[in-house]
């Protein structure tokens, strides 16, 4: 069980720390003209503990069977706190009631901003919280760990899709609400792409942390002790670097709408403020816990009020406030979010006014760009029998279909990037072929021609294969050296906006070629080295 090596970020990071913040922002926004998705953000809301889907979304066409399975904890049809009829125009096998706590979600649905996805799960359900959470984060299906066990789908996605932005002064992802850094953000190569802000004051974070850890040692031994030292040193360094962009965007950002006084609302409030302040992080993960309702899910038999109701109310009100705030802040076009949970709960109640671990559960996807509606039909409650421990099991949507569709059509990742993020190894199928076309509104969808498709094996080393670049970061000249005996080389220098700045052949003398880049502006570039005799390599360089 090997740990990934830490991001080899040092040279680039310190150079970029010198880059004016504004200049960098300009580089990023200039990137994709026409297919403009550079500002898009994805919000992942983790309902931790396994949300009881059946009391969140009540299947109205099977209400009798539902009542028989849940005599004491069923959400009532009438009286105090009955379910909310989501949409009476739906066909009968899609007719659902929402838990009465979810007035916020009902408003979003009526506005056309909410889609309910039924029976989300994965092929081989694992009912352990920790294993299933890890599966959700690594993008696997319970049959194998072929998509990766040490890296997460978000990490792999960001490594590929935002490879130009690796080594920026802002984190690609932000996590709030959990002190433990999510496995989802670990890349295959890269570590440190995300920053965890849980319990930190984003406004003052930078001024507090700046230099607090002192200077790192200059020389670190090449031993396991040294490896741990490097981890500590790099974590401290990254925290310092990221903190600056976080604090500065937080302080220039704003909230307009009022939020309820709950932890989840507070997390989303911070997210909205960072987005409005211009933080370029792409993925935000927030968390609301307490869903492991083995007992006292409801307070009194036959009524909806209780622990589960309270949690759903917090969630629904927070998301409602968040969406209203995004609109007021003028950033609603750029943001889509979803809720996910490690699994659902058993169809039959357990006699302690609660439920035990289950399998499939609904997902909610929300945002201005989302096409409102319901995907899938009500789960078939007749599946739940004594012989299968009263579970509903049929998966209508693999969770990766939802994630994959958003990554492609909202965030602009091409098929190749999706396959690097996760692949259906059980059926040998690409999730780009399993996209849910109804998920987004047409005018928000990124078409295939705009999606980014390059798979880059980008190394942060100054030495790649036979080639090396020095110094890096460099000034007006790139010194490119080759260990092998090579006469000439075709060099492409690609800017961070994807533009080719140089495309020329050079001859080498004594294994060295000097490339003049005086006229180019400072920033990050990819140097692509093609030679007939030696393998083509890519090296990331930074011009000061």
């Amino acid at each position: 069980m090997k740990r990934r090596n830490f991001i080899k970020l040092s040279a680039t990071a310190s150079a970029l720390a010198l880059m004016p913040f504004e200049l960098e922002a300009m580089l990023k926004s200039a990137r994709l003209t026409g297919c403009d998705y550079a500002n898009r953000k994805l919000i992942l809301i983790n309902l931790a503990g396994a949300n009881d889907g059946l009391n969140t979304v009540i299947p109205l066409n099977q209400y009798d069977l539902y009542s028989a399975l849940r005599p004491t904890i069923k959400v009532p049809e009438s009286g105090v706190n009955p379910y909310i009829n989501l949409d009476s125009t739906l066909s009968s096998d899609q007719l659902v009631g929402l838990n009465p706590a979810m007035t916020g979600f009902k408003s979003l649905y009526d506005q056309g901003w909410l889609r309910l996805v039924q029976s989300v799960g994965y092929p081989s359900q694992n009912k352990s919280h920790f294993a299933s959470t890890d599966l959700y984060m690594t993008g696997n299906d319970g049959n194998s760990l072929s998509n990766g066990s040490q890296s997460g789908w978000i990490g792999r996605f960001m490594e590929q899709h935002y490879s130009d932005e690796l080594g920026a002064t802002y984190p690609l992802a932000i996590q709030i609400g959990s002190l433990s850094n999510s496995l989802g953000f670990h890349g295959v190569e890269e570590h440190g792409m995300s920053m965890n802000l849980t319990n930190q004051d984003p406004s003052g974070f930078y001024s507090v942390i700046n230099g607090l850890g002192g200077q790192p040692p200059l020389n670190i031994a090449d031993t396991d002790f040294g490896t741990e030292m490097k981890y500590l040193v790099e974590t401290d360094k990254l925290a310092n670097i990221y903190a600056q962009s976080v604090s500065s965007t937080f302080n220039s950002g704003n909230n307009v709408h009022a939020y309820p006084d709950t932890d989840i609302a507070d997390q989303l409030k911070t997210v909205a403020r960072l987005i409005s302040g211009g933080l370029e992080s792409k993925v935000y993960m927030v968390k609301i816990g307490g869903f492991d309702t083995h007992n006292a899910q409801v307070e009194t038999s036959g009524e909806a009020a209780g622990k589960h109701y309270d949690l759903l109310k917090q969630l629904s009100d927070a998301v409602g406030a968040f969406c209203a705030d995004l609109t007021s802040l003028g950033v609603a076009d750029d943001v889509v979010g979803l809720t996910y949970s490690e699994f659902g709960r058993k169809a039959k109640e357990n006699g302690n006014l609660g439920t035990d671990h289950g399998e499939i559960a609904p997902m909610f996807v929300f945002g201005k760009g989302v096409e409102g509606g319901v995907s899938g039909t009500n789960p078939d409650l007749t599946e739940a029998e004594d012989s299968n421990n009263y579970q509903i099991q049929s998966v209508q949507y693999d969770y990766r279909q939802v994630f994959g569709t958003l990554l492609q059509s909202f965030m602009g990742a091409g098929n190749a990037v999706i396959d690097e993020t996760f692949f259906d190894h059980t059926n040998t199928q690409s999730f780009s072929d399993l996209a849910m076309n109804e998920l987004l509104k047409d005018d928000f969808e990124i078409t295939e021609s705009c999606q980014s498709n390059s798979i880059t094996e980008i190394s942060n080393d100054d030495q790649v294969g036979a080639w090396s670049v020095s110094p890096n970061p460099c000034g007006d000249t790139i010194n490119l050296r080759c260990e092998e005996d090579v006469d000439s080389v075709l060099v492409e220098l690609i800017t961070s906006s994807g533009r080719t700045a140089i495309n020329e052949s050079y001859s080498l003398s004594n294994g060295l070629v000097l490339i003049d880049i005086t006229y180019l502006k400072s920033g990050v570039y990819v140097l692509k080295i093609n030679s007939e005799t030696v393998k083509t390599e890519r090296i990331k360089i930074v011009k000061r």
Partner: protein, 548 residues
């Protein structure tokens, strides 16, 4: 090849530092020098001495009556008191005081058992008194038999509340405790072989186990005392117990545990069930892997698995699950001290990131922070409230990611279970500010992490240097000797030069000699203290000190 053979010569300083940190929370120059002169047998004997607790009961100074202040001895019901959260923190304050003051394996092992049989004190274990009993139970078995603990803990009040087993009945079973008992506490999951099959057990086994566990209840007035532990426990109620025979899956060879319908029969049934679990090789292996992660390192290769973990697992099982001999063997081994091969890149020494508990307690003990004497009644408010609750429990630990004895999930602290990072979880953007501020707060006697509350236990860098450095006039000696005691490995001259610039600024070492001389002659320590405080901060917050 990794070797479990014991180290043979006298320990010496480097090994003494390593052993003391891994085995205890208290870390001092005095003990380093004592253990350096021991051979490993003497060292193990010293560390295995059962300790007599200094504080036997917690105290809540924010109550107005003596009965409520010493509520664990009160005749009133546990839930009749207010301030339960505060009282739970007081229980941990009592535990920490003993762990801080005593150099013995017992406290590390108690905490280890907490990571094995996890409860979260602030998330559903009932009244504070039950948590007090729970910690005493763990303490009793810390150098004892973990199989017996697995049986006793099923009737522990805190555990009965935490995982809902007190609501698990024959006619409506609750699987929560059964699931976590198998998945997290004992045999652990293997790879998922198929639908609901986790190799070591199946989903069906969980449901069957839930039936074994049915019918146990709390005795809220703590009137039922367990015969073996002499601690309050819950009881077996045959009317709520599923008394049918329990047939387990092929993972357990189809074993059948006979169902019983009397109270004492239920306890026999529980015992038979636990014996069945512990008879599996996988259980021994799971515990040894946990011990390895806890005491040695978070990751290991197949050589270690074959030559260290597998043999120890067999020994643990063959010895009936007495934990102490296994820990002693592991901590005496050449493997533990990096002496089993010539490869000096795969260190055990220095390979674990200190938990906030380790880091904080080491700083306090090493720098001889004048700890409040909590045996004196005049000091109880200062210790329990101002120092421990406000500063240590609510700030240092919580802000560093350690909700003390209250991890976010029943899987435990992320550092224990979340692969691949394990102990790296202690050091992240969310925790480093408060880790760095621990020593700064202690130097000022003020909580710099939150609230700025004051406390009396303050680190005096001048008296520390005076008492522990051979020649305080000599800046090189100050830094060299401190580094030699504080860090797992030697530091190079570049690093020493960095610390010299922290101490001296732009000035020459001669300046320091003069400043110390001035302090010795006129007694005014202000200028040396300012410089030493900076040095202590830099040396404590250095990456080298974050590791053990």
């Amino acid at each position: 090849m990794s070797s479990l053979d014991p180290v043979t010569s006298l320990l010496g300083k480097r090994k003494a530092k390593h052993l003391l940190r891994r085995a205890t929370y208290n870390y001092t120059k005095e003990k380093i020098e004592l253990f350096a002169g021991y051979n490993i047998t003497q060292a193990m004997a010293d560390l295995s001495e059962p300790s007599v607790p200094i504080l036997t009961e917690p105290h809540d100074p924010q109550e107005s009556t003596a009965d409520a202040q010493n509520w664990t001895s009160s005749a009133e019901l546990p839930n009749s008191f207010s301030g339960q959260g505060r009282k739970r923190s007081a229980v941990t304050a009592q535990w920490w005081y003993n762990a801080y003051n005593q150099v013995t394996l017992e406290h590390k092992l108690t905490f280890f058992l907490h990571t094995c049989f996890t409860t979260s004190k602030d998330a559903g274990t009932g009244s504070a008194t039950y948590f007090y009993d729970h910690l005493r139970l763990l303490g009793q078995y810390s150098m004892g038999n973990i199989k017996e603990l697995a049986k006793k803990i099923t009737l522990d009040h805190a555990m009965l509340f935490y995982l809902d087993n007190n609501a698990n009945n024959a006619n409506n079973p609750n699987e929560n405790y059964a699931r976590e008992f198998l998945e997290l506490f004992t045999i652990l999951k293997g790879p998922q072989k198929g639908e609901g099959d986790y190799t070591n057990y199946t989903e069906g086994d969980i449901q069957t186990a839930a039936r074994v566990f049915s019918g146990y209840r709390n005795q809220n007035d703590r009137s039922i005392i367990d015969f073996d532990t002499n601690l309050p426990s819950g009881y077996a109620d045959p009317n709520k117990h599923d008394s049918s025979d329990k047939t387990f899956s092929a993972a357990f060879g189809g074993a059948v545990i006979m169902g019983k319908d009397t109270a004492s029969g239920m306890l026999d049934e529980l015992s038979d069930f636990v014996d069945m679990i512990f008879d599996q090789d996988a259980t021994g292996i799971s515990y040894v892997r946990k011990l390895y992660k806890y005491f040695v390192k978070s990751e290991w290769n197949s050589d270690v698995e074959a030559n260290v973990i597998a043999p120890l697992a067999m020994e643990l099982k063959a010895g009936g699950y007495e934990v102490l001999p296994i820990v002693q063997k592991l901590l005496s081994s050449q493997h533990f001290f990096d002496e089993d091969d010539a490869d000096n890149t795969d260190n055990i020494i220095g390979s674990i990131i200190k938990s906030p508990l380790q880091l904080f307690t080491e700083i306090c003990s090493f720098f001889q922070v004048p700890m409040v004497d909590a045996t004196e009644s005049a000091n109880l408010k200062e210790y329990y409230q101002l120092f421990f609750k406000n500063f240590v429990h609510n700030s240092c630990f919580a802000a560093s990611g350690l909700n003390f004895f209250s991890p976010d999930t029943v899987a435990g602290y992320a550092a224990s279970y979340q692969e691949p990072d394990f102990d790296r979880h202690w050091f992240t953007s969310t925790s480093i500010i408060s880790r760095y501020k621990m020593v700064q707060s202690l130097l000022l006697g003020k909580n710099l992490i939150a609230g700025w509350g004051k406390f009396t236990a303050a680190l005096n860098s001048v008296s520390f240097i005076e008492a522990n450095v051979s020649d305080p006039y000599d800046a090189d000696k100050v830094i060299g000797e401190m580094a030699g005691l504080m860090y797992p490995e030697d530091i190079d001259q570049d690093r020493k030069n960095y610390f010299l610039t922290v101490l001296l600024g732009d000035f020459d070492k001669v300046y320091w000699t003069g400043a110390w001389g001035t302090y010795k002659s006129d007694g005014d320590d202000i200028s040396v203290r300012i410089r030493l405080d900076e040095l202590v901060t830099a040396m404590v917050n250095a990456a080298e000190f974050q590791l053990m």
